[in-house]
């Protein structure tokens, strides 16, 4: 049973903002299919009663105080930017609104 097909791969590539060529789609589809096929041993398990382990150690309530500390210098930050202007990062035209 095919778990993942070319359309899935294209869809996922779009979600992940990755351009993929047709060759890559074909290659990746096969490879991802193989991994998911292998993972069917996990898929087949009934673990409904088993709680998930998000963290190996049972830590909770880790906080920091509300005290300001110096951050990084703006010039240092903008110096590594691919494009900047006016003290801000510059990016090309945005289509669509923020979700």
């Amino acid at each position: 049973m095919s778990r993942i097909n070319g359309d899935d791969v294209r869809h996922v590539a779009r979600l992940a903002r990755l351009d993929v060529t047709d060759e890559e789609v074909e290659l990746f589809t096969g490879q991802l299919e193989a991994v998911l096929q292998h993972a069917q041993d996990v898929e087949a398990l009934d673990v409904a009663d088993v709680p998930p382990t998000a963290h190996p150690l049972p830590l909770a309530n880790v906080f920091r105080d509300d005290e300001p500390r110096p951050g990084v210098d703006r010039d240092e930050v903008l110096a590594m930017a691919p494009d900047a202007a006016d003290g801000r990062f510059r990016v090309p035209r945005i289509l669509g609104e923020a979700p």
Partner: protein
């Protein structure tokens, strides 16, 4: 729009006024130079990790308790999507285990609006869109002091956007109401009340215009009496209470028109345009967002213990609803009757005056009218002065008109002893004998008119009151005059 019911739910994002951001120690401040309150964490630099600000959690708990929510152990989730104002291209938020659930907010008129949840999340940076202009590449770079490395090609001349991350990582609480509101006025009352609560709890500035309070409205319509909800639209870009009201009314009308013409309402997000006075569908995205929520692995759960919960509970200030009900019961009136006083912070004044023996209705009246009109002056008005003034009026020593004038003088800072001010203005109340005598003289001088008055002709009433006022040089209390006239008429009939 008769026969139709509007259903409104509101999502309000509230910026917390902590000193630092939610996950890092950068200053949380509005209006600083762009990108001057940033660090590896809020810039999402490779290798950085978030650490939760304890004060932000405490403020979130305060909000939850102020809204009568249940404060629960909670975790953070990642909400994954791409946008340049999000340094990590995911937002750390809360999903199915939020900190506050199942509360309510009481409107001034007593109606309760359900609060589904109030969860924590980090704010995004700010993007400024620069429109497509004629500026060519080099001039754009020169004029704006670009720091782009030499030799890299740029595609300019078209639109671009500038991003400032000062606001990225600022703590937010998103408060989601149940779809319990039924009118634009109710929605505005909700936001107003919520804002008062947030300000009273000292967790936020609550300024819509500055963006520390942001409101999105979910609006749908249905036939009056229907049980199912209609399809809703989300309205964004509401920058003031006025916009909120206008947008809801516009949107409800738009949806009703669609449905009445046999069309359907499409579930979508719409943008309110204040200048045009209408909503627009937002440019459709290529596909629906799939946020791929999963628990934030860089953070551990937040589980406030009983003693922390108790200390937050006990640190909650008296909230507007409690103030309304306290004053209402002291005054023997409905909570909605004192809503304005509480909103204007005059409830202490009135409540104390009533406790000192002032007549409740008169105290409320004077405060809601004269004092409310001069809030600046109200600051120098003492409980004693106010109480004394109300007593003078209630005892009949001053007419209503005189009392207003003395009060105005006190508010203007002319003095704080109403009796002295009254005397200085030459106000004395008339003795009841003198008043009765004046009334009787006017009755005697106008026998024909009096006969009509006794028969119940309302037109002549004004004549008699006017004559009495003239005869007493304005010192008579109009209400007392009217009462006396009626009493005389009644005994004349008998």
């Amino acid at each position: 729009m008769s026969g139709w019911e509007t259903v409104i739910g509101l999502e309000v994002h509230c910026e917390l006024k902590t000193r630092t951001k939610l996950f890092c120690s950068c200053t949380n401040a509005f209006g600083d130079e762009p990108n001057t309150n940033v660090c590896p964490v809020c810039l999402g630099l490779p290798g950085s990790l978030p650490v939760i600000n304890r004060a932000a959690v405490e403020y979130a708990m305060r909000i939850g308790m102020a809204l009568s929510c249940s404060v629960e152990p909670s975790i953070f989730h990642r909400k994954n999507y791409f946008y340049p104002d999000m340094p990590k291209d995911y937002q750390i938020s809360q999903y199915d285990q939020p900190i506050n659930v199942d509360g309510w907010l009481e409107l001034p008129d007593g109606k309760r609006v359900g609060i589904v949840r109030a969860h924590m999340e980090e704010d995004t940076g700010k993007t400024t869109h620069v429109g497509g202009g004629a500026s060519r590449r080099s001039s754009a770079l020169d004029n704006m002091g670009s720091t782009a490395p030499a030799g890299r090609t740029r595609i300019h001349g078209a639109e671009f956007s500038l991003v400032d991350y000062n606001r990225a990582g600022v703590p937010l609480v998103e408060i989601v109401s149940a779809p319990d509101m039924r009118s634009a006025d109710e929605a505005k009352a909700y936001v107003n009340e919520l804002r008062s609560i947030l300000v009273a709890a000292d967790v936020s500035d609550g300024k819509m215009e500055e963006g520390s309070l942001r409101v999105d409205a979910n609006v749908s319509v249905r036939q009056a009496g229907a049980e199912q909800f209609g399809t809703r639209c989300e309205i964004k870009n509401l920058n003031s209470l006025r916009s909120l009201g206008r947008a809801i009314e516009y949107e409800a009308r738009r949806q009703v028109q669609l449905l009445e013409s046999g069309d359907v309402v499409v579930q979508e997000t719409r943008h309110w345009n204040e200048d045009e006075g209408r909503t627009h569908a937002m440019r459709s995205k290529e596909e629906a967002d799939d946020y791929r929520y999963f628990p934030e692995p860089d953070l551990v759960p937040v589980a406030p213990d009983a003693s922390w919960l108790a200390s937050v509970e006990s640190s909650l200030p008296v909230l507007p609803a409690q103030r309304r009900s306290a004053l209402a019961s002291a005054a023997g009136v409905a909570a909605s009757d004192v809503a304005l006083l509480v909103e204007l912070d005059l409830d202490d004044l009135v409540g104390s005056a009533i406790a000192a023996g002032a007549d409740p209705k008169r105290a409320i009246n004077r405060a809601a009218n004269e004092v409310a009109a001069d809030l600046e002056g109200a600051r120098r008005l003492s409980v004693e002065s106010f109480t004394a003034l109300v007593k003078l009026e209630a005892d009949g020593k001053l007419t209503a008109t005189q009392a207003k004038q003395v009060l105005a003088a006190m508010l203007a800072g002319e003095g704080d002893d109403p009796a002295a001010l009254a005397a200085a203005k030459g106000f004395e109340a008339m003795s009841s004998d003198a008043l009765a005598a004046a009334v009787d003289e006017v009755i005697a001088a106008n026998p024909d008119a009096w006969a009509k008055f006794v028969e119940g002709d309302p037109k002549v009433a004004g004549l008699f009151v006017g004559q009495v006022m003239k005869r007493t040089s304005g010192k008579a209390d109009g209400r007392l005059v009217t009462e006396l006239l009626r009493a005389r008429a009644a005994s004349a009939e008998a």
